[in-house]
């Protein structure tokens, strides 16, 4: 798993969208694949144009996630989201301003509510898990 600071630094070196997308694709390729047994409706994030799965894990008071998609670019975006939220407490998760991070990366359009690609639904689901593990 790449560190979000490293990702951020790499992004800042990329100028046009072609290079950014290429980098996203690479990040997606590096994302550990989700076991097929999790690729079910139970773990599916609804509201996405592609199939997206998210599986939470809770260890020593920290949450981590595994995610996957059948779309390559979406997988890259998931890799970024994973890097942002990996191994954090519920409290920490709730404090993360993910929109700001995406804006800094120049990827804000991928989290906008208007684009119905549903990446925001994934963030919502992560926050939902954070809420439920807190209790």
């Amino acid at each position: 798993m790449e560190d979000i600071n490293v990702i951020s630094e790499n992004f800042s070196l990329l100028e046009d969208w072609e290079d950014k997308y290429q980098y996203l694709i690479e990040l997606g390729e590096k994302l550990p694949p989700l076991a097929d047994k999790y690729k079910t409706d139970e773990w599916k994030v609804s509201g996405c144009q592609s199939q997206v799965w998210l599986v939470p894990d809770y260890h020593d008071g920290k949450l981590s996630f595994e995610g996957d998609s059948d779309a390559i670019m979406v997988k890259g975006i998931i890799a970024v989201i994973m890097a942002i939220y990996q191994n954090k407490s519920a409290q920490e998760i709730k404090k993360i301003a993910v929109e700001k991070i995406f804006a800094k990366l120049g990827l804000q359009e991928h989290l906008s509510l208007s684009r119905r690609n549903g990446m925001m639904s994934m963030v919502d689901k992560i926050r939902y898990y954070a809420d439920s593990f807190e209790k």
């Binding site: 969208w17 997308y21 290429q22 144009q49 779309a71 670019m73």
Partner: protein, 405 residues
């Protein structure tokens, strides 16, 4: 035919750069852009001529009522209906179909009756009938289409038993582009005494619609696809049918006589237009239809056929390009899959290149699944679409292919 480059001048949004790129708008099947004539008339009314309709006793109200009712006459002529009383203004096609489901089907269908639709229906012409079937104990029959999207006459007639009381079909598929022979379908359905509803949402944009010639009982379309505003749609219904139907919603503007305990309802179409209608939008729709008629529906069809031919030719240049709905004589709607590129991935790159397409199930989920997909990309044309738009599309797809190699 017409000079498409001149036509484009009438559409301000097509002159604009979107994120610094020309606007290659290939999503007209979802909603069409608006010509100046429509924008201007709506602006003018809001600025100078606005009032409520049917209510005031002053000059502005009289004038706008007159315009609103004239818009109805424009729609009547557009569809060649017998009278303006057969034209009901609704919010959109979806509401028009729901109106028929609630005010006609719920009243007239009984346990064991059947409703027949095609495999190619938009959710708007599917879900209302599912609800009717659940509530009334009717059966929803679905007749098959070909793997290429073709209408198969024997599949239709096979499903058309005398239990069928309503046939509800699209005149043109919003996913496959298939044009259904609605006149023949209507004649067959009438032979066994079934009523016929036509979903003309896509067809109304692409070809001349003549409800007397088709002889359908109901027909629905949406203003926003016919170059008019959102918030306005049309239900055509044969006069005697509309007269036999109870209101869909109740309230102001649709009554004859009201006491505290009892109300008698106005005649159609007022009976079905409860509350203040979408006045400015109805007038905008009238202007949009006039705009289309000025260009000529035959010319619009010819232009589109040219584009369809050109699109098929150009797509042959793209490796692994698969058409979903591949009839040669279809309307200007192209669903497709490129190699194994996910439509979402494709849309990201096309979006960056300024090419507006739509992906997903296009509100026809069972159809997209029946064709073997859970999401497809779709490029669709309007009367302002050019061959250059298609060239730009092909170029952008080629770029996406390089990306996702």
């Amino acid at each position: 035919m017409y000079d498409v480059y001149k036509i484009r001048q009438a559409f301000p949004i097509l002159q604009k750069l979107i994120d610094g790129k020309p606007n290659i708008y290939l999503d007209s099947a979802a909603s069409a852009q608006k010509p100046k004539a429509v924008i201007n008339i709506m602006n003018r009314i809001l600025k100078n001529e606005y009032a409520n309709v049917h209510r005031g006793t002053y000059a502005l109200s009289d004038k706008i009522t007159d315009k609103y009712e004239k818009a109805r006459i424009i729609v009547q002529k557009f569809l060649n209906a017998r009278s303006a009383q057969e034209i009901v203004f609704t919010r959109n096609a979806t509401e028009a179909i729901n109106l028929v489901a609630y005010s006609w089907a719920m009243e007239n269908l009984h346990q064991g009756d059947e409703i027949l639709i095609s495999e190619a229906e938009h959710h708007a012409n599917l879900i209302p009938w599912q609800i009717v079937c659940q509530k009334k104990g009717c059966v929803l029959r679905v007749f098959k289409i070909g793997d290429d999207g073709a209408y198969l006459p024997h599949e239709f007639t096979k499903s058309l038993s005398d239990k069928v009381k309503l046939v509800a079909v699209t005149a043109m598929s919003n996913v496959l582009g298939t044009i259904f022979p609605i006149k023949t379908i209507t004649a067959e359905a009438h032979k066994i005494g079934a009523k016929v509803l036509i979903d003309a949402c896509q067809a109304a944009v692409h070809q001349k619609i003549d409800v007397q010639d088709i002889d359908c009982d109901f027909l629905a379309f949406s203003g926003h696809k016919t170059y008019g505003p959102t918030g306005i749609g049309v239900l055509y219904g044969k006069s005697e049918l509309l007269k036999s139907m109870p209101p869909y919603q109740t309230g102001g503007d649709m009554v004859d006589k009201v006491t505290y305990q009892h109300t008698t309802f106005a005649e159609p179409p007022s009976r079905f237009e409860a509350g203040t209608p979408a006045i400015v939008e109805a007038i905008g729709l009238g202007e949009a239809l006039r705009y289309m008629q000025k260009i000529g529906l035959e010319n619009i069809t010819l232009h589109e056929q040219e584009l369809v031919k050109y699109m098929y030719e150009k797509c042959r240049e793209i490796k692994d390009f698969k058409h979903i709905g591949s009839l040669p004589n279809k309307g200007g709607v192209f669903s497709f899959q490129v190699g194994n590129i996910h439509p979402q991935d494709l849309a990201y790159v096309l979006g960056k290149e300024g090419v507006a397409i739509r992906i997903g199930h296009h509100c026809a989920e069972p159809l997209v699944e029946r064709m073997g997909y859970n999401s497809v990309a779709r490029a669709s044309f309007g009367l302002y679409t050019t061959k250059e738009d298609i060239d730009a599309f092909v170029k952008a797809v080629a770029k996406a292919q390089k990306f996702f190699k």
